[in-house]
C-alpha cells in the first residue's frame, strides 16, 4: 500500500459512501498529475509523492471541504445564542440546585459537612451536565444539514436599559453597610454580651464551636468575597465570570448558614441557659436562617436572570 493509497483512504473514510468512487478517481488523478509534474522537474518520485501529499495537508480537513462540513464546533452565527443560554442556565439553575439540595439534606438532619459537600457536589454535577448538553445541542444545530438556523434576530429592542446608577449605588452602599455590621456583630459577640458567667466573663451569643473550628472566619470571608463581586459588578463591566463568581459566593454563604442551623451550631447553649431562653430558640434561629438564605438565593437568581437578559 503506497503513501497515496493511505492518504486517499484516510480522506474517503470521512465521506458519504455515494460520493466516494467519484472523489477517489479524481483525487488519485490529481495527486498523480502533481507527482508527475514534480518528477518531470527532476524530483525523485517518492520525494515528489511526499511533497504533494504534504501540500494537500490533513486528509480530514480535505474531507471536511468535500463534504461541506464545518471545522468548528459552534460557529459565529450561533455562538452568542450559545453563550447567552449557557450563562442563563448556569446562573439560574445552579443556585436553585444548591439551595434545594442543601435544604433537603439539612432537613434529613445531615451534619454540616455532609450538607455542604452534597450541595457543592450536586451543583458541580449540574454545572457539568448543563455545559455538556447545551454544547451538544448547539453543535448539533450547527451540523443540521441544509438549514440556516437563526434563533434570535437581533433588534434594537434587545438593547440593555440604561441602568439607574444611583439606585445601584444605593444598593451597593446598603450591602457594604450590612456586611460591615454583620461581620462586626459576629466578631464582637464573644466579648460583648448581656450574660456573664460566674467569673464575670461574657458568655458569647454564638456557639464557641464556630471559633474553635475557624468556621466563623470562613463565613465572614465568604460574605466579604460576595461583597467584592458586587463592587466588581458596579465598577467593572458585568460579565459571566463575575456573575457566576458572585452567585457562587452567595450560594456558599447560604449553604453554610443552613448547614450550621441544621446542626444547632449557631447559638451557644450556655448563653441559652444563662438567658433562660426556651429550648425552641435553636429551632427559631434555624427557621430564620433558612428564610434568609432562601430569599438571598432567590434574589441572586432573579438578579442573574435580569443581568443575563440585558447582557
Amino acid at each position: 500500500m503506497t503513501l497515496t493509497d493511505r492518504y486517499v483512504d484516510a480522506t474517503l473514510r470521512r465521506l458519504p459512501a455515494r460520493q466516494r468512487p467519484d472523489i477517489e478517481r479524481e483525487l488519485r488523478a490529481s495527486i498523480a498529475d502533481a507527482v508527475d509534474d514534480r518528477v518531470d522537474g527532476g524530483t525523485d518520485p517518492s520525494a515528489a509523492e511526499l511533497a504533494v501529499l504534504t501540500e494537500l495537508g490533513d486528509p480530514q480537513r480535505l474531507a471536511a471541504g468535500y463534504a461541506d462540513r464545518p471545522l468548528h464546533l459552534i460557529g459565529p452565527a450561533l455562538f452568542l445564542d450559545y453563550t447567552r443560554l449557557l450563562a442563563t442556565l448556569l446562573a439560574t439553575v445552579l443556585p436553585a440546585v444548591a439551595a434545594i439540595v442543601a435544604l433537603v439534606r439539612a432537613m434529613d438532619d445531615a451534619d454540616a459537612g455532609t450538607v455542604v459537600a452534597d450541595a457543592f457536589g450536586a451543583t458541580f454535577t449540574a454545572a457539568i451536565h448543563i455545559g455538556f448538553w447545551t454544547t451538544l445541542l448547539f453543535a448539533f444545530i450547527e451540523r443540521f444539514p441544509g438549514q440556516h438556523w437563526v434563533i434570535n434576530t437581533w433588534t434594537p429592542d434587545a438593547l440593555p436599559e440604561p441602568p439607574s446608577r444611583r439606585l445601584r449605588y444605593t444598593e451597593l452602599v446598603l450591602e457594604t453597610a450590612a456586611t460591615a455590621l454583620f461581620s462586626a456583630f459576629i466578631l464582637l459577640t464573644p466579648v460583648v454580651s448581656t450574660e456573664k458567667d460566674a467569673d464575670g466573663d461574657p458568655i458569647g451569643l454564638l456557639s464557641p464551636w464556630l471559633w474553635d473550628t475557624g468556621v466563623v472566619y470562613g463565613l465572614i470571608a465568604l460574605v466579604v468575597v460576595a461583597l467584592g463581586f458586587s463592587f466588581a459588578r458596579y465598577y467593572g463591566r458585568w460579565n459571566v465570570p463575575i456573575a457566576i463568581g458572585g452567585a457562587l459566593a452567595t450560594i456558599a454563604c447560604s449553604i453554610l448558614l443552613i448547614a450550621l442551623g441544621a446542626n444547632d451550631r449557631i447559638l451557644n447553649p450556655e448563653f441559652i441557659a444563662a438567658a433562660g431562653w426556651s429550648d425552641d430558640a435553636n429551632r427559631w434561629v434555624y427557621i430564620g436562617v433558612i428564610v434568609a438564605a432562601v430569599s438571598t438565593l432567590a434574589h441572586s437568581v432573579t438578579e442573574a436572570v435580569k443581568q443575563v437578559r440585558k447582557g
Binding site: 467519484d22 472523489i23 478517481r25 479524481e26 483525487l27 488523478a29 490529481s30 498523480a32 498529475d33 502533481a34 509534474d37 501540500e55 494537500l56 495537508g57 480537513r61 480535505l62 471541504g65 468535500y66 461541506d68
Partner: protein, 111 residues
C-alpha cells in the same frame, strides 16, 4: 500578531472569493483539477489544492459548473466547464469587480 502575518490575513480577506470568479472565467474552456491549479497560479491567483478541489465540486453542486469524465487518455480526468448559470454569475461578479475598482479609483482621487 507579527506584521507579515497581519499582512497575510488582510490579503487573504481581500482575495477571498476572487478564486471563484477566476475559476468561472478560466473554465469557459473545459479543464481538469491539477491543470486548473497550475493555470490559476500562472495568472497570479494563489490557491491551495485542498481548497480548490472541494471548491470545484461545490460549484458543480450549485450548478455553476458541469463536469465530464474524459477517458481518452491513459489517466481518466474529470473535466469541468462553466455552465450557462456559471457564465451569468461570472458576468455579474466581473461587473461588481469593475464597480469596486472604479470606486477605489475615485476614492484615491483618480478619475
Amino acid at each position: 500578531m507579527p506584521e507579515d502575518e497581519l499582512l497575510a490575513t488582510h490579503l487573504q480577506e481581500l482575495r477571498r472569493g476572487t478564486v471563484v470568479l477566476a475559476c468561472l472565467l478560466i473554465l469557459q474552456q473545459p479543464n481538469y483539477g491539477y491543470a486548473l491549479l497550475d493555470l490559476l497560479e500562472k495568472y497570479g491567483f494563489t490557491v491551495d489544492a485542498n481548497t480548490l478541489y472541494p471548491l470545484l465540486r461545490r460549484l458543480e453542486k450549485q450548478g455553476l459548473l458541469t463536469s465530464d469524465w474524459n477517458t481518452d487518455e491513459s489517466r481518466p480526468r474529470k473535466f469541468y466547464r462553466t455552465s450557462a448559470d456559471g457564465t451569468a454569475l461570472a458576468q455579474t461578479l466581473s461587473h461588481d469587480w469593475d464597480e469596486l475598482d472604479a470606486a477605489f479609483r475615485s476614492l484615491k482621487g483618480e478619475s
